[in-house]
C-alpha cells in the first residue's frame, strides 16, 4: 500500500517581481527515489527551499507525514548545494558531519563521544573515514560532497532533499553516492534529488518530477520521462542527439 508522505498543493513562490514557481502540485510516496529535472532557472532549488520554509511561500500548502513542516522537521534531511558554503571555514570533516546531529543534541550541550562515533560511522559509509581529521578546505569537490551526504545520513531522516549532489563530482563519487541513495530507498526512506544530467535519469531514479516553474510531469520514470515531456519541460532549448536510445538527450547549452 503506497502512502503519500509529502503533499504540495498549489505552491507558488517569487523573487520580487518574478514568479519563480506557480501552482505546483504533487504527491510523493514513501520509499521512492525521485529526480527533480528541469532547465536552469526552472525553480528546482527554489522548490526545495520553499518546501522547507527556507524561502517564503506566496500561496498553497505543504504537508509532510500529514503534518506541517515545523512538526515534521526532525524527519527531514536536507543537503544544500556544495557551493552554498565557504569551504575555507576552519573545521575538519568529522566536525561537519557532526553538525547533522546538532538539532538532536539540543541547546547548551556539546557533542558527546557517542555523537562523534555516529558521525564517524557515517563517514565510513561514504568511504571517507580516512579523512575524518582532514581540514575541509583540503578536500576535493567529490570528497566535500560525500561529507555533505554523510552529514545527511547521521540525521537519520525519513525524507531527504538533495540539491545537485552529483554536480561536479568524479565518477567514483557519483557511483558511491548513487549506491547510498539506492540503499536509503531499500530501507524505506524517501529521497528527492535535484539532478542535471539527463542521460543518467532513467538509470538512477524510479520517479521523476519534471519542473519548469510548474510541474510538467510527475510519476514513474518509464511513464513520465518521455521525449515529449522532456521537450515540454525544456521548451525549445533542446537539441536531440539521435542515438540508439531515446533517452540520450542533452540540453543545447551543455
Amino acid at each position: 500500500m503506497e502512502s503519500a508522505i509529502l503533499i504540495a498543493e498549489n505552491v507558488s513562490a517569487s523573487y520580487r517581481k518574478n514568479t519563480v514557481l506557480h501552482n505546483v502540485n504533487f504527491k510523493v510516496n514513501q520509499g521512492t527515489l525521485t529526480g527533480i529535472i528541469g532547465p536552469n532557472g526552472a525553480g528546482k532549488s527554489t522548490l526545495i527551499k520553499t518546501l522547507l520554509d527556507l524561502h517564503p511561500r506566496l500561496s498553497g500548502s505543504v504537508t509532510f507525514f500529514q503534518q506541517p513542516f515545523k512538526k515534521a522537521k526532525k524527519r527531514i534531511g536536507y543537503v544544500p548545494q556544495r557551493g552554498s558554503v565557504d569551504w575555507d571555514f576552519p573545521t575538519n570533516a568529522l566536525d561537519v558531519v557532526t553538525m547533522g546531529l546538532y538539532g538532536e543534541i539540543g541547546w547548551f550541550k556539546f557533542p558527546s563521544r557517542k555523537h562523534k562515533e555516529k558521525a564517524y560511522e557515517a563517514l565510513k559509509k561514504v568511504g571517507m573515514a580516512d579523512y575524518a581529521d582532514r581540514q575541509i578546505s583540503q578536500l576535493s569537490g567529490g570528497q566535500q560532497q560525500r561529507i555533505f551526504l554523510a552529514r545527511a545520513l547521521v540525521q537519520n531522516a525519513d525524507l531527504y532533499f538533495m540539491d545537485e549532489p552529483l554536480a561536479g563530482v568524479d565518477a567514483q563519487t557519483e557511483r558511491a553516492i548513487m549506491f547510498i541513495l539506492q540503499e536509503l530507498k531499500r530501507n524505506g526512506k524517501t529521497v528527492m534529488v535535484v539532478h542535471h544530467d539527463l542521460q543518467t535519469v532513467a538509470d538512477y531514479f524510479d520517479h521523476v518530477l519534471l519542473l519548469n516553474r510548474t510541474v510538467i510531469g510527475h510519476g514513474k520514470t518509464e511513464e513520465i520521462f518521455t521525449k515529449e515531456n522532456i521537450g515540454k519541460t525544456y521548451g525549445g532549448n533542446m537539441r536531440w542527439l539521435i542515438g540508439e536510445e531515446e533517452k540520450n538527450v542533452v540540453p543545447s547549452y551543455h
Binding site: L52, L54, P80, F89, N92, D95, Y102, F108
Partner: protein, 288 residues
C-alpha cells in the same frame, strides 16, 4: 594598581573581547557590519545621553545595543527591498552617524560628550572615572564595564558554540534542523554592539573596527581550527593593544590610534610569514 596598569588592563580587555567577537565577524563575512555598527553606536550613546542627561554606563550600553540592533534590522530590511547589501550598510550607517554628529553639535555640544572623544576614545582618562565595587574596591568604570562585557561575550560564545558554528558555516542546514538562524544573527549583532560600546571609551568608534577585524583576520591565516582561531585572535588582540600602548608612549601620540595601527602590524606579519597561508609560504609552494 598604578595608573599605567589600569590602562593596560583596559586595553587588554578591549583586545580580548574584540578578538573573540571578530572571529565570527570574519567567518560570517560581516566584517563591514562592525564598521557600520561602530558608527551608529555613536547615535545610541548620544540619545542615551540626551535622555538621561548624564554619562552613565548602563544607559549608554543600552542605547548602543539598541542602535546596533536597529542598524542590523535596517540593513536587513533594505536588503530585502533589493538594495545591494553593501550599499544598504553604507546608507544606514552614514545616515545614523550623521544624525549622531548633528545631535552632538547642536544640543549636547558643550556637555561631557564631544564628538572628538567618542570617535577617538580617550583611554588616558579612563583611570579617573572610578566606581566602588564591593570586593574589588575602586576600579575605573570603563574597565568594570569591559570586564562584564568580556564575561557576557565568553558566556554566549561558549553556550552557543555549536550553534554559532553551524549558523556560520551552513545557515541553510541550520534553518532546516530548526536552529533560529535569524535570532542568532541578531544576537550576534547585539554582541558586536555591546563590545563596541564598551570599547568606545578606550579606543573610540573607528579604531574599535581595527580591533574587531584585524586580530581575527590574522588568526585566520595561522590555523584551520575554530577553537585555535579564537584563542589566537584573543592573543593577537591583547598583544596589539600592548604594542600600541608602547608605540604611543614612545612617539607621544594617540594611544587608540597606535593600537589600531599595531593591529595592522600584526596582520602584516601574519600575511607575509604565516606558514600555511602567508605570502612567502604560497610563493615557495604555489600549488595548494
Amino acid at each position: 594598581m598604578t595608573y599605567t596598569a589600569w590602562i593596560l588592563l583596559t586595553a587588554a580587555l578591549v583586545g580580548l573581547s574584540c578578538g573573540l567577537i571578530g572571529v565570527f565577524l570574519i567567518l560570517r563575512k560581516t566584517a563591514m557590519m562592525a564598521d557600520a555598527i561602530s558608527h551608529t553606536v555613536l547615535l545610541g550613546i548620544v540619545l542615551a545621553f540626551l535622555v538621561t542627561k548624564e554619562v552613565s554606563g548602563p544607559a549608554m550600553l543600552l542605547g548602543g545595543i539598541l542602535a546596533g540592533l536597529i542598524t542590523a534590522l535596517l540593513v536587513q530590511w533594505l536588503q530585502s527591498l533589493k538594495v545591494q547589501h553593501d550599499a544598504s550598510m553604507g546608507i544606514v550607517f552614514t545616515t545614523l552617524f550623521a544624525i549622531g554628529v548633528i545631535l552632538i553639535a547642536t544640543s549636547a555640544g558643550n556637555a561631557h560628550l564631544d564628538v572628538q572623544h567618542a570617535l577617538m576614545g580617550e583611554i588616558t582618562f579612563i583611570p579617573f572615572h572610578t566606581i566602588t565595587l564591593p570586593l574589588a574596591g575602586d576600579i575605573p568604570m570603563a574597565t568594570a564595564l569591559l570586564m562584564i562585557v568580556l564575561f557576557v561575550v565568553l558566556f554566549f560564545i561558549a553556550a552557543f558554540y555549536k550553534e554559532w558554528k553551524i549558523t556560520t558555516f551552513d545557515p541553510a542546514l541550520a534553518a532546516s534542523i530548526g536552529i533560529p538562524v535569524a535570532a542568532m544573527h541578531y544576537l550576534f549583532m547585539g554582541l558586536v554592539s555591546v563590545t563596541t560600546v564598551a570599547s568606545f571609551d578606550a579606543v573610540g568608534a573607528i579604531m574599535v573596527v581595527a580591533m574587531l577585524i584585524a586580530p581575527a583576520a590574522s588568526a585566520y591565516l595561522w590555523t584551520d581550527k575554530l577553537s585555535v582561531m579564537l584563542i589566537l585572535s584573543g592573543m593577537f588582540g591583547v598583544s596589539a593593544a600592548f604594542t600600541g600602548y608602547v608605540i604611543a608612549a614612545w612617539l607621544d601620540t594617540s594611544i587608540s590610534g597606535s593600537m589600531a595601527f599595531a593591529t595592522g602590524i600584526f596582520f602584516t606579519v601574519s600575511f607575509i610569514f604565516s606558514p600555511k597561508h602567508g605570502v612567502i609560504a604560497k610563493a615557495v609552494k604555489p600549488a595548494v
